[in-house]
């Protein structure tokens, strides 16, 4: 399952929901991306995420399908927010259910790295001195 949404999500509901659907799951691995309060020595006030509507949803769907095809997992989900988010808020959640933990960790790591490479969503940082787009991807 993949979702692009403006509103927040409940990580407990999402993780429990995926886990409960798979009695064969012995591991449920998650990654939660949140807004930190600093960037390059500056204080962050907020982030605004811009997306290419239509293509971003398609690429999130493809990411989820590809992960299920490439890794020995039972299921996965990815949720990404767009619009304005404040310090400490949730940005992105990835949850992977698998029979054993190695495949879950591998798939979860792969999904967040791939998401940052290919899903057309951009982060605009607002700091006390102005705003700028974050485009490096180390």
């Amino acid at each position: 399952m993949a979702r692009l949404q403006r509103e927040d999500f409940d990580i407990g509901v999402e993780i429990r929901g995926l886990a409960d659907r798979y009695p064969g799951a012995g591991a449920v691995v998650s990654f939660l991306g949140t807004v930190r309060d600093f960037s390059k020595g500056e204080d962050i006030q907020k982030l605004v995420f811009e997306s290419y509507e239509g293509m971003a949803e398609k690429e999130l769907d493809r990411l989820e399908r590809d992960a299920r095809g490439q890794f020995d997992i039972l299921d996965c989900l990815v949720i990404h927010r767009f619009g304005e988010v404040g310090v400490g808020d949730n940005i992105v959640l990835i949850v992977v259910a698998s029979a054993h933990r190695p495949a879950g960790f591998e798939a979860c790591r792969w999904m967040i790295e791939e998401l940052k490479r290919r899903v057309p969503i951009w982060k605009n940082e607002f700091t006390t001195t102005g705003r700028h787009w974050v485009e490096e991807h180390p």
Partner: protein, 83 residues
């Protein structure tokens, strides 16, 4: 006409999020960018530099891809970065 969509830093540098380019025949994307820059009165480098990917009709394509009348072209800077 092809619709060129600009996002994030490219949109800021170009000062617009959309440029319409009249097309009478299939045209390589590289040439479409030149036409778009001319139509918007900006340097071509503003559109091509800083792009990580190009998409036509929401699928990534190379610069020699032929753009047709009615296509939606998107200029995509590097995606949501961060460590």
């Amino acid at each position: 006409m092809a619709r060129i969509l600009l996002f994030a830093s490219i949109k800021d540098r170009a000062g617009t999020g959309r440029i319409d380019v009249p097309l009478t025949a299939p045209t390589p994307l590289r040439a479409v960018l030149a036409k778009a820059a001319a139509a918007a009165g900006i340097e071509e480098g503003i559109l091509s530099r800083g792009c990580a990917l190009f998409a036509v009709n929401q699928e990534t394509v190379p610069l020699d891809h032929l753009v047709n009348d009615g296509d939606e072209v998107a200029l995509l800077p590097p995606m949501s970065g961060g460590r």
